[in-house]
């Protein structure tokens, strides 16, 4: 597909999924009611549903999708490995463990400790700790296998920590339910607080990432080639890993662990529009947002309370397998 069709196509799809997110939900609202709710309609119920429930949910979904899509591209460029993704290397598990630790200790300190802002901070701290650990573990040689195995080990370690906290809070059903929320990801009950918590910082990180596309292209030629072409590789790698961790951590903080977006979306777009990072980065942000909003639409139209992380994995899992089996 020609790259110049990409932007209008992706923008159109994003507009479509975003509007669908505002239009569809538990309550059936007419197009007029939705429009009225967004402007100056008098229907109190429609106003609350669209403005306080659906709009923040869609904005959080858009930001989380964009963050995970971009983070996936960065991880793949950073490790020069098509299978790298934030989830695979334990960054989002670290973020979830941080959030779960706050939730689990909430009852100990009264529920004050588990308030809205403690969670994202702990999640960001957990994600950074996980990134630090995986880099440390895989420092020497830094071969793809070593990195991925370090990620597998770290994921197991962090998963054990989360499971431990889950068992220690087994008697507190509401705490347990919230922990499960982080583990399966989801956008229900997202409010304007979550929008303020996640969206501006994700937007800022995405904007900081966009100018690095060319340097990422050069990095894909190999570290030494990039260095000889004038790229400060050490500085670039520091920037990439910091921004990617911030994006993954914020996404996890406001929506829990949502797997496979960072893996699937960049690959589809790379297949469709080529590997140029200057394009792939913004496309993956748009594509991630579209994918996540579409998956969220599935969760709210499916009757049994299907979780977002489940839907993205149901789509992402088979794709991952196909990717592994594809002839190179």
């Amino acid at each position: 597909m020609k790259p110049r069709v990409a932007v209008p196509l992706l923008l159109a799809l994003l507009a479509l999924t975003f509007l669908a997110s505002l239009a569809f939900g538990e309550l059936r609202l007419s197009f007029g009611q939705v429009l009225g709710a967004l402007t100056n309609g008098t229907d109190e119920v429609a106003r609350t549903v669209v403005r306080d429930f659906r709009l923040p949910r869609a904005l959080v979904g858009l930001a989380v999708g964009a963050a995970l899509g971009a983070s996936g591209v960065v991880m793949q460029a950073f490790f020069r490995n098509p299978l790298a993704s934030p989830g695979l290397l334990g960054v989002s598990s670290g973020g979830a463990l941080g959030a779960v630790a706050v939730l689990a200790t909430g009852p100990l300190f009264g529920f004050a400790a588990a308030t809205l802002w403690a969670l994202p901070l702990a999640s960001v701290a957990g994600a950074f700790a996980a990134t630090g650990m995986v880099l440390m573990l895989a420092q020497r040689g830094a071969g793809a296998e070593r990195l991925l195995l370090s990620g597998v080990a770290l994921n197991a370690l962090l998963g054990a920590g989360t499971s431990f906290l889950l068992t220690t809070t087994a008697g507190h059903f509401e705490v347990n339910a919230q922990i499960l929320f982080w583990l399966m990801g989801g956008l229900e009950s997202r409010s304007w607080e979550h929008v303020w918590m996640g969206v501006p910082a994700i937007l800022a990180a995405c904007l900081l990432l966009l100018p690095l596309g060319r340097a990422m292209d050069l990095l894909s030629l190999g570290e030494q080639s990039a260095q000889s072409l004038g790229v400060d590789v050490r500085r670039l790698r520091r920037q990439l890993i910091a921004l990617s961790t911030v994006l993954t951590a914020l996404a996890t903080a406001v929506a829990g662990i949502v797997g496979f977006v960072g893996l699937v979306v960049p690959h589809i777009l790379r297949l469709a529009f080529g590997p140029d990072h200057r394009r792939l980065l913004p496309y993956s942000m748009l594509g991630g947002a579209i994918f996540l909003l579409a998956c969220d639409l599935v969760t709210r139209t499916f009757p049994l309370g299907l979780r977002l992380g489940v839907v993205t994995a149901l789509i992402g899992g088979p794709f991952f397998l196909w990717l592994l089996r594809r002839p190179r």
Partner: protein, 309 residues
């Protein structure tokens, strides 16, 4: 007519002894008559609980059975209560339960450590634990119906029979019926208040739940049941706005209000904005024993204060 509590019991299978005859003979040959008489004395002591008409070392494996056991048994009949029996967060009778040991964990080994002659468990006890207890040959009573008060009365009767405390069970049932009748008389012809079971846990209670039973006795109309929800179903978000909820009923203490305020679909409700949230202590709300009546009274008092002046 309420359904009778179904009881699954497991008769002791005490036929097979760990010591087989040849080994006894061998021991007798070596140590002579003195040891043999001591050995038989030991066997007689071991069989004492079997000879006694009613169990003297009862272990309760769940909080619900703790409540029933404490209400009926003589203190001397109780060997141990459930592992969370001492925790007031879970048990409405924690203070009383602290007079007795609590099993360390809910597994079979923790139960058998007290050498029980009767174990009380519930249908929600882990099946592995039930299987191990059965295999150990210990008498087991598994309660499996808790939906209504009649179910609880049936459980009280069965347990009364097991413990040899039938009269105490009947007296308690009569007392409970009296309290429920008095409450019903106060609430006669009252206009039911439209309520929803709310919480941080993303599920609400519809038909066939203990919450529905609570509503039926406290002059409340459960809007989730009215909307056709059965059992514990995911809490809707947008639909709550059109269910015309008058009061939210939450399990816990006053801190739950702050937690509910973080959830947009509760925050948007007129009932929540007007502060119409009734909190009922968790152990009382989820009790599967006669202590549930306290929850009826608490909710009825909160919803219809004019009837209690």
């Amino acid at each position: 007519m309420a359904q009778m509590t179904q009881m699954k019991t497991n008769r002791a299978e005490r036929g097979a002894s760990a010591l087989s005859p040849p080994s006894i003979c061998a021991i007798c040959d070596i140590y002579g008559f003195k040891f043999q008489s001591l050995f038989f004395l030991f066997l007689i002591l071991l069989s004492q609980p079997l000879l006694s008409a009613h169990p003297q070392r009862v272990v309760s494996q769940t909080v619900g059975t703790d409540e029933l056991l404490l209400a009926l048994a003589d203190p001397g009949q109780i060997a141990a209560l459930s592992h969370i029996s001492h925790d007031a967060q879970f048990s409405p009778v924690a203070a009383e339960a602290r007079r007795f040991p609590a099993i360390k964990d809910s597994d079979a080994e923790s139960v058998l450590r007290y050498r029980p002659d009767l174990v009380l468990a519930a249908s929600f006890t882990r099946p592995e634990t039930l299987a191990l207890l059965k295999r150990a040959g210990v008498r087991l009573v598994v309660l499996d119906r808790f939906d209504t008060l009649e179910d609880i009365y049936a459980s009280l009767r069965v347990l009364g029979r097991e413990l040899g405390q039938e009269a105490r069970a009947e007296a308690l049932i009569t007392q409970c019926r009296g309290r429920v009748d008095a409450l019903a008389a106060r609430l006669k012809d009252v206009k039911p208040v439209r309520v929803l079971s709310a919480g941080v846990y993303p599920f609400t209670s519809g038909a066939g739940t203990t919450f529905q039973d609570l509503c039926d006795h406290a002059g409340a109309l459960n809007v989730a049941t009215e909307a056709g929800l059965k059992g514990h179903a995911p809490t809707p978000s947008e639909k709550l706005l059109v269910w015309n909820i008058e009061v939210l009923v939450a399990s816990g203490d006053e801190r739950i209000r702050g937690r509910l305020a973080e959830i947009p679909h509760y925050r948007a409700l007129p009932a929540f904005k007007a502060g119409r949230v009734v909190t009922i202590p968790g152990p009382m709300m989820s009790s599967i024993s006669h202590h549930r009546i306290e929850a009826y009274e608490t909710l009825a008092r909160a919803l219809h204060p004019e009837r209690f002046r």
